[in-house]
């Protein structure tokens, strides 16, 4: 470690030589003067429609439901149609625990996903309309494994938690002493085009990604979003 302190001192000294060595207050002032960068053009006047349309563009599945009973019914339908089974795994989130799972005949296990689990359910802290992303903060209520190891990742989002810009992914309440270990901005199922530019989903993480927006007019918002998304169908290639 002494060697490393030596390397640190040398590198820091070299950096200082090439820096302006300004007063921190002047640096802060200069940074503030640069201002904010522009965000992406909005696709629809309604933030929720923009969010769901962008989820669809990201090769996710987007649904809108009126309430939590509707959310559970949507999960039940999705799981039954894909797997003919009722098992899902959910983090120890009070909002997930309070869902009426039995109404859809679902059998949730609360905890961390194991590698063989097919479906996991998360409750997003926030969602970003600009990019069709959901934001998860790691913690006991939201293990990171749950968004990575299951083949299907289902995410619930409350309408009030959908924000316009990417910058809103950071919660202003995350103070120095209260920072999440891991803040995930997830914008689609795991994908790759590493094999001769062929797009394949489920490269390492989930093969399918379902986002369920809980809003009073949820079904209507989802229908409008599908119409908006149909206008721009993009080819895809990624690595």
């Amino acid at each position: 470690m002494d060697d490393n302190k030596g390397a640190q001192s040398i590198i820091e000294a070299r950096v200082r030589t090439s820096s302006r060595r300004a007063d921190p207050r002047d640096i802060a002032h200069e940074l503030r003067a640069i201002g904010r960068g522009p965000a992406a053009r909005s696709r629809h006047r309604d933030t929720h429609v923009t969010f769901l349309a962008n989820v669809l563009d990201n090769h996710g599945d987007a649904r809108g439901v009126e309430n939590r009973s509707g959310a559970v019914a949507c999960i039940g339908d999705y799981v039954a149609r894909r797997f003919g089974r009722r098992k899902v795994v959910a983090g120890k989130d009070a909002r997930l625990a309070a869902l009426p799972w039995r109404e859809a005949g679902l059998l949730p296990r609360f905890g961390v996903v194991d590698s063989g689990d097919k479906v996991s359910v998360s409750y997003a802290r926030r969602a970003i309309a600009e990019t069709g992303s959901i934001v998860l903060e790691s913690g006991r209520d939201s293990p990171v494994s749950n968004s990575l190891l299951a083949e299907n990742h289902i995410v619930l989002v409350d309408a009030a938690d959908v924000y316009d810009r990417l910058e809103d992914a950071w919660h202003s309440g995350n103070t120095d002493s209260n920072r999440p270990r891991c803040l995930q901005i997830i914008s689609g199922p795991s994908s790759t085009a590493d094999i001769a530019l062929n797009m394949v989903y489920g490269a390492q993480g989930p093969k399918a990604w379902l986002v369920i927006l809980i809003a009073t007019d949820g079904p209507g918002l989802a229908k409008t979003a599908r119409d908006v998304a149909a206008i721009r169908a993009r080819p895809g290639a990624r690595s």
Binding site: Q8, V15, R36, G37, A40, N54, V144, A169, A196, G202
Partner: protein
């Protein structure tokens, strides 16, 4: 990674003799610019975003001492051990020391150009560790014993059939035939999943470091970086000083630029910020986290006229748009970073002596600068390196004499006009009305593979211009 940049021309010649790989490169050079254009068009005022990020990065480098100090304090407060490495050997030793301290055997790695730069895999494997690259492209190359050809899609030079043959040879497949790309991906997914679960240490890179909070940002589409960062009990982030950005919002601006420029996506599938080790009550995540900040001549670049190159976000857009890269492929460049950005970074991070052909691998078409999300004047930097190459006498003596003669001729207009008049007449006579010349005196190398169009008139441009002006304006 053994550097072969000194034989760029030979490397490029050999690459162009591989027809199937040439087809792959042509596809990449056609498809990726289209995807980028589509992603940029859907954004809105992309130029305003580029200018904004460029301003922030200039500000950050101007005050790098302040932001580095802030980052180290915040990252340490978050529970990380922060290390510094002056060069590749120091980084490799730091990583192997951490692995040995934990009695680790199995290591999983996310795609990291920094660790390619330091040849970390070779070092760790020589020390007896089992290292698995987990980005699908990198995994394919590791199995094939090859090096990346592209900084975003490292195995895009390999046709699907080659990858199938590789898996059939290397994996225990039983009756499975791996008929298409989806089957190949599923095969790799199954194998890599177990490696993630068994790993003792995870190693990742970082696309940005946030000075105000000590977070590091990692962007992937596969999610392999997140698996490396969350499943093993020890996490090591290998990164460099110029990844620093002041605030969270600056990192979000970077995300807006990066994915659109790289693949045309509005954002990559997984953009994850890490602050440190597992918190109380968490049921997963690493128990110990290390961040290694590598210099490897970056402080030299910071102090030089090439400082602008530290703005590079490693999106690969300049590669996808470069006619030389598309024709010759990434391996021709002979080191970690190919294409226009590599032709600048390689001489700066290794030596101009070992790579002085690279700044000449340029048609001066300017497409790289047009699409660079960091607004780097790549053609200007390439020209400056060519100037250095000339001044340090790395070019052949005959070439230098020719350049000096040319420079002198350009400053002697009367003689220049007289000689060009003779040359145009001679070329017109040699073409004898055929429209092109198969051979040119003193330019055998150039005319071996192409014809030179013959002048359309037996007079020079200036002669025609003056005649036209006289006929129109009477003077």
């Amino acid at each position: 990674m053994k550097q072969t940049s000194a034989t760029f021309l030979q490397n490029a010649h050999e690459a162009m003799l591989q027809p199937q790989r040439s087809v792959n490169r042509q596809q990449l050079g056609t498809m990726m610019p289209q995807l980028r254009d589509s992603g940029v068009a859907s954004f809105g005022d992309f130029d305003a975003l580029r200018s904004h990020v460029s301003e922030v990065r200039t500000h950050t480098l101007d005050h790098l001492d302040h932001y580095l100090d802030s980052y180290v304090k915040q990252a340490t407060q978050n529970g990380n051990e922060v290390h510094f490495a002056r060069d590749g050997d120091e980084l490799n030793r730091l990583v192997s020391d951490i692995c040995q301290r934990h009695e680790a055997r199995k290591i999983v790695k996310g795609k990291s150009m920094v660790t390619e730069e330091t040849a970390l895999n070779d070092h760790l494997m020589a020390e007896g560790f089992q290292v698995t690259e987990t980005d699908l492209g990198e995994y394919i190359l590791q199995e094939a014993g090859e090096t990346p050809s592209h900084i975003v899609g490292p195995a895009l030079h390999k046709p699907e059939a080659e990858i199938r043959d590789l898996f059939l040879d290397r994996h225990d497949l039983g009756d499975r035939e791996l008929g298409d790309a989806a089957a190949l991906v599923a095969e790799a997914r199954g194998l890599l999943r177990q490696r993630f679960l068994d790993a003792d240490v995870g190693i990742i890179g970082a696309n940005a470091l946030i000075a105000e909070s000590g977070y590091s940002l990692l962007v992937t589409n596969e999610g392999n970086g997140d698996l490396c960062a969350n499943l093993p009990p020890v996490l090591i982030v290998c990164t460099t000083l110029e990844r620093l950005l002041p605030r969270f919002e600056d990192a979000m601006d970077l995300l807006r630029l990066l994915a659109r420029s790289a693949t045309g996506q509005p954002i990559s599938c997984y953009s994850t910020l890490y602050s440190g080790p597992r918190r109380d009550g968490e049921e997963d995540g690493p128990l110990e986290t290390h961040i290694i900040l590598l210099d490897n001549r970056r402080t030299d670049i910071l102090a030089s006229d090439y400082r602008e190159m530290l703005h590079c976000v490693r999106c690969g857009a300049c590669l996808n748009h470069c006619p030389v890269y598309v024709a010759a492929g990434g391996h021709a460049y002979g080191w970690v970073y190919p294409g226009p950005m590599g032709s600048i970074l390689t001489p700066l991070l290794t030596s101009l002596e070992a790579s002085h052909d690279l700044p000449n691998a340029c048609t001066a078409c300017g497409r790289c600068e047009e699409v660079c999300p960091a607004n780097i004047a790549l053609p200007d930097l390439l020209r400056d390196l060519r100037q250095e190459e000339f001044l340090t006498q790395l070019t052949p003596r005959r070439w230098r004499l020719g350049m000096r003669a040319h420079a002198w001729l350009l400053t002697t207009p009367g003689l220049y006009r007289a000689l060009t008049t003779v040359a145009v007449r001679a070329m017109t006579w040699l073409a004898r009305g055929r429209g092109s010349l198969h051979r040119l005196p003193f330019a055998k190398g150039w005319s071996t593979a192409r014809d030179c169009p013959a002048p359309e008139s037996a007079t020079t441009f200036m002669h025609q211009y003056n005649s036209l002006r006289k006929s129109r304006h009477g003077r």
